[in-house]
């Protein structure tokens, strides 16, 4: 079974990898705020944001193919959500709003991809906890992280079972049984997750996110954060002033 679809590039030693996860989260939140609040007419700012995210991607040392795959898998969902936008505005204005929405979404997806690809998920959780994120949210995410492997494994097993019984015939019955199979998969995953939770409890799990990594903020981290904020603010204000 292959489960290395998460944290694949966590052990690289790039500039972005070496930043303190707390600084990365704060910087990412700042970026998202600028991406979302930048005026739609300020197209130059969006171009600069894209350059900025591109630089971060290059500095992360993660292959571009990884970002493209992640991008391709997430963009359809955003497009689906925004598909009604062009019809809500008269004339070309609706299309423009849709394109700006897509721009914001794509920038956010790429930025968060850099964040998650360059940081262990467990470190992100611990950083989130130390930044005061709600404990319940952290606990839910930490369980999601542990259980996502189980769901993937159950999916693989069920897929094998399904294929072995339908001999490749693409009939309505086969697809109907797939629905039952998916339900069974979630039930099996639920039961397995319960047993994993028991195993975690028996080894002292207390509900808190704990990791082996010790965080420390360096001069480099502070410099990165300020550079990010100043760049984004400069780009946004400059474009807005001109307009």
């Amino acid at each position: 079974m292959k489960h290395d679809f998460m944290d694949v590039y966590r052990d690289r030693k790039s500039f972005i990898h070496c930043l303190d996860p707390r600084i990365k989260i704060i910087a990412a939140i700042c970026c998202l705020v600028f991406f979302i609040l930048a005026p739609g007419r300020n197209l130059a700012a969006f171009a600069w944001y894209a350059v900025f995210v591109g630089v971060l991607m290059a500095l992360s040392g993660v292959p571009v193919s990884f970002y493209i795959k992640r991008f391709a898998s997430l963009v359809p969902f955003v497009a689906l959500i925004g598909i009604s936008v062009p019809f809500m505005h008269a004339g070309i204005g609706g299309v423009r709003v849709f394109l700006i929405l897509m721009c914001r979404a794509m920038l956010s997806i790429m930025l968060l991809s850099v964040l998650t690809a360059s940081t262990r998920f467990s470190d992100l959780l611990k950083a989130g906890e130390s930044l005061g994120f709600p404990k319940l949210l952290i606990t839910v995410l930490s369980f999601m992280y542990r259980y996502i492997f189980l769901i993937q494994e159950e999916t693989m097993l069920m897929k094998i079972a399904w294929h072995s019984r339908f001999f490749g015939k693409n009939t309505f019955k086969a697809w109907k049984s797939l629905a039952g199979l998916i339900a069974a998969m979630f039930l099996r995953s639920f039961e397995k997750a319960e047993r994993v939770y028991l195993a975690m409890c028996s080894r002292g799990f207390s509900g808190q996110a704990k990791t082996l990594t010790r965080f420390s903020i360096s001069f480099q981290d502070i410099l990165f954060l300020w550079a990010t904020i100043l760049f984004l603010a400069g780009v946004t204000l400059n474009g807005s002033y001109k307009n």
Binding site: R120, C201, K210
Partner: protein, 233 residues
Amino acid sequence: MVHIRIEHLSFSYPDGTLALNDIGFSVTEGESVGIIGANGAGKTTLILHLNGILRGNGLVEIAGVPVNERTLLVVRRKVGIVFQNPDEQLFSPTVYEDVAFAPLYMGKTAPEIGRIVSESLTAVGMAGYEEKMPYHLSVGEKKKIAIAAVLAQQPEILAFDEPSANLDPKSRRILLNLLLGFPHTRIIASHDFNVLKELCKRTIVLKKGMILADGLTEEILNDAALLKEADLL
């Protein structure tokens, strides 16, 4: 010294199935006790009572500490449970993180954790596997990592649920040799008579949540009538 004391323990699952019915026994320090019984006899349920994962009616006492809500963390440090399916026990992205899980939650420092992980992996012959993903290992290797993860708790008592399940003969042999070397008090629930013969002087036979017999392993496993009554033959 009595390490495990169980008195009048009964437990029913939420669906009403009576899994343990007024059982009682004690185990002294360093003793190795086998638990046998047919499927559904209550072996796993009993094992899960040893560190308070399940809590029924009656007394469960570990090294003099009664198992209850307040003593859970203390008891869980004393009892390490190795589950039947290692996939359910190994939940971290790397072997190192999995073995380090218990010491991390016990509040050990990073250097201490590093030392404990190294010692635990060496004890099961898996040094050098630290950065591997547990999911990519063979069943035998997973079992050994699961044991290392439990050893990292530094428990006084080790409880195994079907330790030889799904193992090929060679892996089974390696595992048996490993278990023979442990000085801990051991509780081993198994269907594998050979495992019990090699590891346990004493065996308890369970049937439908009740103790059918408690005695020398050699005598119990040679008593065909008893084994038949326990639905094991």
